[in-house]
Symmetry: C2
Subunit: 340 residues, 2 copies
DNA sequence: TTGAAAGCGCTAACAA
DNA sequence: TTGTTAGCGCTTTCAA
């Protein structure tokens, strides 16, 4: 039989209101009674019922984190940052993973109406304007992570700029035949990285060749930022052995790793036969010696939580849109092209 | 202003009890009134308040998943299985990650008393007998995943058997100088795999050499089943260049990957200079061509959820202890030793 | 078949 | 400073 506030009150010989005050350290209570009550609560091993407390307080102490179903390295890192920071603020985390498109809206609707959570962190998934407005109307705190909507708070990476820099790195290494392996363009980061890539070529006066561009497949199981997708893309690219790029910008490390595998199967290697600059800087990037654009994913997760918690207490400010600039990490997958 | 059951009742011209009956498809209601109420609820976009519902029903529709803080590939896979299955049963998932030892007990205590969740899934972390008994007393459903306690339901891998088989594979390939890279022995799987390893050697009449055993370091950040730990262990092992093993059982794929890296740094490779059999069969194992003992992690996650959900409805049966037998996956990291 | 009312365990406003 | 009480939004008896 779980012990309730009534049990504590009875044993202490006070009303439940007083117990509540003692527990929530209200100033309107005599220090001695407070001490006595706390003591008794301890003895009885009392712990408030979370749901009852939530119902009365109109807040749950829980936030929802919505992520794509395919938990890749990227999301793990993000989750770690989020989780770590959330612990600091004493919030619990409900994890929703979206395996189908409609699911996201279901979850958003639920978080909005069901009142099971105080706020939501939406990761890497696009929210419709309809729902963005709903959240604003309802005054429900939400922050977007690695995704964007003009009406809402967000923390994103400067994808276009990062891609530009990555490509520039290839150009500065002397490459002129530069290609890209990208994820499908339904993904916003994929679109932006593509844009940055093309701009870098344009600015350098290098022609963009359509056949140097490879877009890996997307499946129900993945968003296309996968090792397998990178592998397939590179294989496809190697099909054309008369005219191949010498340098490649690949939209994620994990794809680059797959691509390197495809290279090796043909007795080729990076950077000898193909220079590569990728994106993310996941843990494995170091192992593969990838020159890559580092996204501080963990820190972004922390930042998102901080912002959300801020909104949870004092809401109603201007839209907060933080853009993080990725950092070029030079390893050895991008070689300087020998001039002959 | 959120719409409540009262709003629906008023608009339908009925009592809230009737609305509740309509919503929870109780048989004690006239089909027509039910239809009408449902219709109105729809129009009003009504959704029950989760906490209020939970308070009244004495169940939350949420389960807790407790995992170690260092989310490795192993846990990700496990989480995916859990998450996927949980969705089928309409349960929400609260994720607790344990970053310090005391934290686990805090979480267990909370789940027990706070009534925020209906049950718990404890992954890869040891529960004390004290808490095991508490859970039984309280009748709180809990199932252990990749961890064991005699009093509680659990789903574990036959670690000892798996290690035995892995080692046997090396022996059958002709190896006689066989070593092991292991994680620290505080980990139960590490202990059991060590045991299986030694038994295989013993049964084959092969001497176990202490200097062929390498145990990687454990840190606050990790349990020792990491790439870095494997890397360090192999480096250490290579220190001795006069007398090295030719075959190695490594306690996880990710450590094996680190070990291979150390090998490569010395211009060595597997299997040419060192045969390796590892454990887990994570996604990357295929890429590295690891011969390994496959743990059906995803399926174990699913199974755990199924069992938990079962207990959630009809509890109070015998202790369920499922032991999964790992499967040998032959790739190319273990070479047949040429007889000369 | 339905409505009214008594909880579920807590917080917070109101009195005392 | 404290006790009492009215909610919080729902489920579920108990009568009708």
């Amino acid at each position: 039989m779980p012990v309730t506030i009534y049990d504590v009150a009875k044993k202490a010989g006070v009303g439940i209101g007083t117990v509540s005050r003692a527990l929530n350290n209200s100033p309107q209570i005599l220090p001695e009674t407070k001490a006595r009550i706390l003591q008794i609560a301890q003895e009885l091993n009392y712990q408030p019922h979370a749901l009852a407390q939530g119902l009365a307080r109109r807040k749950t102490g829980t936030i929802a984190v919505i992520v794509p179903f395919f938990l890749t390295y990227f999301f793990i890192e993000m989750l770690k940052g989020i989780q770590h920071e959330l612990t600091q603020y004493q919030y619990d985390l409900i994890l929703y993973s979206v395996d189908q498109k409609e699911k996201l809206n279901t979850f958003l609707k639920r978080t909005l109406q069901e009142k099971r959570v105080d706020g939501v962190l939406l990761c890497s998934l696009s929210i419709s304007t309809h729902f963005a407005e709903k959240f604003i109307e309802a005054g429900s705190p939400i922050v977007l992570l690695d995704t964007f909507h003009p009406l809402l708070d967000s923390i994103t990476i400067e994808n276009e700029l990062g891609a530009y820099q990555a490509t520039l790195q290839l150009i500065q290494a002397g490459h002129r035949k530069i290609g890209m392996i990208n994820a499908p363009l339904i993904s916003r980061p994929a679109r932006l990285r593509y844009k940055g890539f093309k701009k870098a070529l344009l600015d350098a006066g290098i022609e963009f060749k359509r056949k140097y561009l490879m877009i890996g497949p997307r499946t129900d199981e993945s968003d296309g930022f996968t090792r397998e997708a990178g592998y397939q893309a590179m294989k496809q690219l190697l099909t054309n052995d008369s005219d191949r790029p010498t340098g490649l910008f690949i939209s994620s490390d994990i794809q680059a790793i797959g691509a390197i595998q495809a290279l090796q199967e043909q007795q080729l290697s990076s950077p000898t036969n193909m220079s590569i600059v990728s994106f993310d800087d996941i843990e494995l990037a170091e192992y593969f010696g990838l020159t890559t654009m580092r996204q501080p994913i963990y820190e972004m997760g922390k930042l998102a939580v901080q912002r959300l918690v801020e909104k949870l207490s004092a809401k109603g400010e201007a839209v907060f849109q933080k853009k993080i600039i990725p950092e070029l990490i030079i390893r050895k997958s991008c070689a300087i092209l020998s001039t002959h």
